[in-house]
Amino acid sequence: MRKTLTFITLLGCLVLVSCSKKDQDNLKPNPDIQIISLQATLKVVMAWDTTSITVNATGDNLSYAWEANHGDILGSGISVKYAAGQCCIGLNTITCRVFNEQGYAEDTIQIRVTPYTINP
């Protein structure tokens, strides 16, 4: 019985250790950062084609973080490429976060991915 309890306790510790993620998202909105524009060369792309997305922002010591709800962000910095496969057909949202040590500003752009055709 004692060894059973020990085993269960070890399992519990494993779960707790595994669940303890560090929070890297403690920044707050920073009004000193202004996103002037967030633009894509194409807002409608066929599956597996790419479009370039560029952010223009003002502020000091800026860094740029990107995220797509469906599809892939390729590259990094102020300009990235977005591509998505057949699994991501529809209206997808790309989020750009511009940040520095004082906080962040955020904007989104939507790209529509259309079905793949062999001879478009």
């Binding site: 060894k3 059973t4 085993f7 269960i8 399992l11 494993l14 779960v15 595994s18 669940c19 599956a47 597996w48 860094s63 740029y64 973080a65 990107w66 995220e67 797509a68 709800n69 469906h70 599809g71 892939d72 962000i73 390729l74 590259g75 990094s76 910095g77 990235v80 490429k81 591509a83 496969g85 057949q86 699994c87 991501c88 057909i89 529809g90 949202t93 989020t95 793949y116």
Partner: protein
């Protein structure tokens, strides 16, 4: 010695890794190591699994199709598992995985590979031996459990979130149940094995992401043959059916799910008392994906295990 052969030899691996991909990757392994027979009351078995998986072809339904995007994707995966039998019939099992690497490389050489690594999901499982008939060499066990997305699901490289296909964790709570059956024959080196499993994924709903993987149904049947005092071969046929996934507003993801049939040859050996080792390959022999998806080429797994009686 033959008892050990039976105990370790019929450990066979359900690897629902091949249809896990949404459309573009090899997906998560979601291993379940099922035992067709009990390891015995108050016994502990620990095992370490390594799996490699490679995908390099797009398929439209069953036919390969040339898409100028991904070149290949795959993963190197480790999993530690511990099974403890509280009683002769009831056992608890925990499995925790770690991706050494999970990658996608692109045909365009100007695009940098996407690669993630880190803690994967935690699987907690309860097992109940419904039928134990040693004289008839018949065993039937039921399993049920939950997979917890304790691992990394928001991994970034250069402040860019990696594609979901290379995130180490599935990000979803998944509930599974199934049964395993094994039937041996007196004075015969043969044994037949079967298993079935269903896995339901809970919806992932976060600020930026709303997605639900399709339910997976897996069936497998095989036979084992003891060809040496310390070695045994298994051949299995495994079928997996995955329903289509859903994204926000319950939109069906047409390019997800499908059916695949795999041939899984496996060899088990006993290198030393209480130790077991197993090597298996998964080779797709039939597939029919919905729409266009990136399909698995092969995977192989190596398992080292040790079984110990805690109370003598």
């Amino acid at each position: 010695m033959k008892k050990y052969l039976v105990l370790t030899g019929i450990l066979f691996i359900v690897g629902l890794n091949l249809l896990k991909a949404q459309c573009c990757a090899a997906g998560n392994p979601l291993n379940m190591m099922l035992d067709a027979q009990s390891i015995g009351k108050q016994s502990l078995r620990m095992s370490l699994l390594y799996r490699y998986s490679l995908s390099d072809t797009y398929y439209q339904g069953s036919k390969p199709i040339d898409i100028n995007y991904l070149d290949k994707s795959g993963f190197n995966y480790l999993e530690f598992a511990a099974l403890y039998n509280i009683t002769e019939r009831i056992g608890i099992q925990a499995e925790i995985g770690y991706f050494l690497s999970k990658y996608e490389s692109y045909k365009n050489p100007l695009i940098k590979d996407s690669e993630g690594s880190g803690l994967a999901d935690l699987n907690l499982m309860l097992r109940y031996e419904l039928i134990q008939k040693p004289f008839e060499k018949l065993n039937l066990s039921l399993t049920g459990g939950v997979k917890l997305p304790v691992g990394v699901f928001d991994q970034e490289v250069d402040q860019v979130k990696l594609p979901i296909n290379v995130q180490p964790s599935s990000g979803s709570y998944r509930y599974h149940g199934g049964f395993t059956v094994a039937k041996g024959f007196r004075y015969a080196p043969w044994q037949i094995l079967g298993a079935t499993m269903v896995e339901y994924s809970q919806r992932i709903s976060s600020r930026f992401f709303d997605y639900q993987y399709g339910t997976v149904y897996a069936f497998q049947a095989g036979t084992s043959y003891t060809f040496h005092q310390k070695a045994l071969a298994i051949i299995q046929v495994r079928a997996e059916v995955r329903e289509k996934s859903k994204r926000e507003n319950n939109q069906i993801v047409d390019a997800s799910g499908g059916e695949i049939v795999l041939l899984v040859p496996q060899i088990n050996i006993i290198p030393a008392k209480n130790w077991g080792a197993s090597l298996s390959f998964s080779l797709p022999v039939y597939r029919r994906y919905h729409d266009i998806q990136f399909g698995n080429k092969y995977s192989f797994s190596l398992v080292i295990s040790r079984t110990q009686k805690l109370i003598k």
